[in-house]
């Protein structure tokens, strides 16, 4: 059901391999596959319809008929078309010519507005701004308290007239408050509301006309299904949205709702949320989301993230070792330490195409496990570390005693090591049938990771 589009297209094209040509009928079949893939990725039914028509047009114009790998060719066209729709480049936050810049966060309930407001504050603070977080959700119990706590975590100012005040007043008063506190950016955290709730939509419209925000950011979670078009359309009808922030992109949702959101609002996606911590806000990369919607994983961001923390020189050394298959327990340990720096291994690895299934269960580890692993590896002799094969029963007992762990713990670690080694081997070869050439990170194969 959730196999990648590539694999499914391979099936479609298996029959016509060797014929070397795409007939109109073949094309129809593959477009049907693409249609299914997009629907499975939660792109809205009607949006898919329009999109497929566009792809068809683009493909026909492009003389793909003598392609060697018709499947990849089609995927490439679809990919390009997706990127085109989603905006070719990343659009930055709009700032007011003269302060204050007012950012208004709006959206349905439970999308992550408050957390995202905090993330924006952190990001802006880093750039030298002085944001003021404003709590205007008087409905959800403790929502204002939540915003205050978030402001504390972000190390920025916060303001609210409280739960008994009119949220419109709170937002209006925030202007003077910002001036007094010398803040140049005001971030309004409005209550989550349903697009069919006339009264609540009236309120948010009132806030809008009272404060005249620089940006109206629609916060939407990436797991949304078909209904994303309806809510976004309504919000956009009531408020002139200027941007979308897509949250919870750290899960395994395919994120097709993004395409729906863009189609109905015409707004760019300005940021994506990738975690619960306040620094987990990334710029939007249409290429990556296109990969994800098509089920091709997210190699670029994986590699980028890895590069931030992995010592390049060491990475090259690992790469070399992996190629020569001399990767040993010492490398394993260093690897674990680096991955810890990068965040959860599971999250990262899941972003690699095909790795989700390949990834052995329980390869995720926490601080404690790392401590265990360190103790165990350090209790081995250097020779054992480089030649794990010789670690027999009696050596295992010795290592267990030496490290204050148990034999099962040692076994567990050795098993993980083997699993990882196997994984590395596979990664060195690269996942099969990945997207077309010329896209994606050339020369930045997974090996660049340093695994």
């Amino acid at each position: 059901m959730f196999e990648s589009l590539n694999k499914r297209l391979e099936e479609v094209f298996k029959n016509i391999r060797g014929q070397g040509k795409l007939t109109e009928k073949n094309m129809k079949e593959s477009l049907q596959e693409i249609r299914m893939a997009l629907l499975e990725a939660d792109v809205n039914y009607k949006v898919v319809k329009g999109f497929i028509a566009d792809v068809q047009e683009a493909a026909t114009g492009q003389k793909v008929l003598d392609a060697v790998h018709p499947g990849q060719m089609i995927v490439k066209i679809v990919h390009e078309e997706l990127v085109k729709v989603m905006g070719e480049k990343n659009e930055p936050l709009r700032m007011a010519d003269s302060p204050p810049t007012i950012l208004m966060m709006v959206g349905l309930q439970g999308q992550g507005k408050t957390t995202t407001a905090g993330k924006l504050a952190v990001m802006l603070k880093k750039k030298g701004h002085r944001p003021l977080l404003v709590g205007a959700d008087v409905y959800r119990p403790a929502a204002i308290k939540q915003l205050e706590v978030v402001a504390g975590q972000a190390g920025v100012e916060s303001f609210s007239l409280g739960e008994n005040a009119n949220p419109v007043d709170t937002c209006v008063m925030a202007g003077g408050e910002a001036q007094m506190r010398n803040c140049d950016v005001i971030i309004l955290d409005t209550a989550g509301r349903l697009h069919v709730d006339a009264e609540m939509m009236g309120e948010v419209r009132q806030i809008h006309s009272a404060v005249n925000p620089t940006e109206i950011l629609f916060v939407a979670n990436a797991m949304q299904g078909q209904d994303a078009v309806n809510s976004a359309k309504e919000f956009h009808a009531v408020l002139p949205l200027t941007g979308v922030i897509l949250t919870q992109m750290d899960g395994d949702a395919r994120g097709g709702a993004a395409l729906s959101l863009i189609s109905v609002t015409g707004c760019p996606i300005k940021f994506v949320g990738t975690g619960e911590k306040l620094d987990a806000l990334d710029a939007f990369h249409p290429q990556r989301l296109a990969d994800q919607i098509l089920g091709m994983g997210d190699i670029v961001s994986l590699v980028e993230k890895a590069q931030e923390v992995v010592d390049q020189e060491q990475a090259l050394k690992f790469q070399e070792k992996a190629r020569k298959a001399t990767w040993d327990l010492e490398d394993f340990l260093q690897q674990m330490q680096q991955v810890k720096k990068m965040g959860s291994l599971g999250d990262l690895v899941k972003k690699i195409p095909g790795m989700n299934k390949m990834m052995p269960k329980g390869m995720d580890f926490d601080e404690d496990e790392l401590k265990y692993a360190e103790a165990i590896v350090y209790s081995m002799t250097p020779y054992e570390r480089r030649h794990p094969k010789i670690i027999n029963g009696s050596r295992r007992r010795r290592i267990a005693t030496g490290s204050g762990t148990s034999v099962p713990d040692v076994n567990h670690l050795l098993k993980d090591f083997q699993k990882m080694k196997k994984m590395i081997k596979k990664m060195m070869k690269g996942p099969k049938g990945r997207g077309p050439k010329g896209r994606g990170p050339q020369g930045l194969g997974p090996a660049g990771l340093g695994f």
């Binding site: 059901m1 299914m36 629907l39 499975e40 990725a41 939660d42 809205n44 039914y45 349905l108 309930q109 439970g110 999308q111 992550g112 408050t114 409905y139 959800r140 119990p141 403790a142 929502a143 308290k145 939540q146 915003l147 205050e148 706590v149 978030v150 975590q153 349903l194 697009h195 069919v196 006339a198 979670n221 797991m223 949304q224 299904g225 078909q226 209904d227 994303a228 309806n230 809510s231 919870q248 750290d250 899960g251 395994d252 949702a253 395919r254 097709g256 709702a257 619960e276 959860s344 599971g346 999250d347 899941k350 329980g362 995720d364 926490d366």
Partner: protein
């Protein structure tokens, strides 16, 4: 017409303050101008089911079945086909126990663990549930095991005050399993009727956080064998196909007994719950149609199907 209908649909209509068209009108709309069954009828059907978030696979199966039935029974009239469809959908949804049974053995409390992804509506559902139970004269303890999200404990505290329920809480950042254990302990000691444990929202892909939930389930069972008696997975009705992954991962980690489907007061249909019930056999137990106490409703397969076509 259906305007007098109580329950979830009635409540829904009342809340929305709209007269939604009744089922018969919808048959007309859905298969509008197509009294005879033709290819276009199946296409419309496909569109409705996909847009209801039932997913490609479930939709294709159902549409295929409808084609089959049409052929076998030589149906000509699309209204007849629609009736068959309703039967099929309701039939899909009916298996399993859709009630939340508050069966405490002896003096022990009935323990419910509430889980789900971030922002699904866990805490609100718990608040509403607590108020309902209190109104029925039951004694309720809430366990504030979301020690992670900012002001989550305060949020649940406000609900406990509204409901007149006791609450067990620790400091922010405390071990959620310890809170769950203490809450169970307190509920047993007080001979409370029900204990409902709130947990922090988490994505099902976070291995460590799923382990944390397993630990919570384990320690609750250690303190009170057999508990938790129910594990409710809260699912936002706007969720698309990822909902199935959520259900798979949460059921793999925990003994999920049912789904609470929230935010059905919007325009989302929550069709992914059909796919979940079909593939995993997890019944929907509660429906959330708003933020007020009366907006938590028992599940009714027929009404749900009706709403799918509204």
């Amino acid at each position: 017409m259906t305007e007098k209908k109580a329950g979830f649909l009635g409540r829904l209509r009342e809340r929305l303050g709209k007269t939604r068209s009744g089922l018969l009108d919808n048959v007309k709309r859905v298969f509008s101008g197509r009294p005879r069954i033709g290819e276009d009828v199946f296409e419309d059907l496909e569109e409705i089911l996909i847009e209801g978030d039932l997913g490609v696979e479930t939709t294709m199966t159902i549409v295929e079945d409808m084609r089959q039935v049409t052929k076998e029974r030589k149906l000509e009239n699309s209204a007849d086909l629609f009736r068959v469809l309703e039967e099929e959908l309701a039939g899909l949804l009916e298996p399993g126990d859709h009630a939340l049974n508050w069966t405490s053995s002896g003096d022990d409390p009935h323990v419910v663990l509430v889980v789900g992804v971030n922002g699904a509506g866990k805490t609100t559902t718990i608040g509403k549930l607590a108020q309902k139970l209190r109104a029925e004269g039951k004694s309720v303890v809430l366990g504030a095991a979301d020690t992670f999200r900012a002001a989550a404990v305060e949020q649940l505290t406000i609900w406990s005050e509204r409901a007149g329920a006791a609450i067990v809480k620790h400091a922010d950042g405390a071990d959620p399993a310890a809170v769950a254990y203490d809450a169970t302990d307190a509920a047993v000691a007080r001979k409370a009727d029900c204990l409902i444990i709130d947990t922090a929202g988490r994505l099902h892909t976070k291995v460590n956080l799923m382990e944390e939930l397993k630990k919570i389930q384990r320690v609750v069972g250690k303190r009170l064998p057999g508990a938790p008696h129910d594990v409710l997975l809260v699912l936002d009705a706007t969720t698309g196909q990822n909902g199935l992954q959520q259900a798979i991962q949460f059921t793999e980690a925990l003994n999920v007994t049912g789904i609470a489907l929230t935010k059905l007061d919007g325009t989302a249909k929550g069709g992914i719950a059909v796919a979940i019930q079909k593939q995993l056999g997890i019944p929907i137990k509660l429906i959330g149609v708003g933020e007020a106490v009366d907006d938590l409703q028992p599940f009714n397969a027929r009404e749900f199907v009706e709403a799918l076509f509204e």
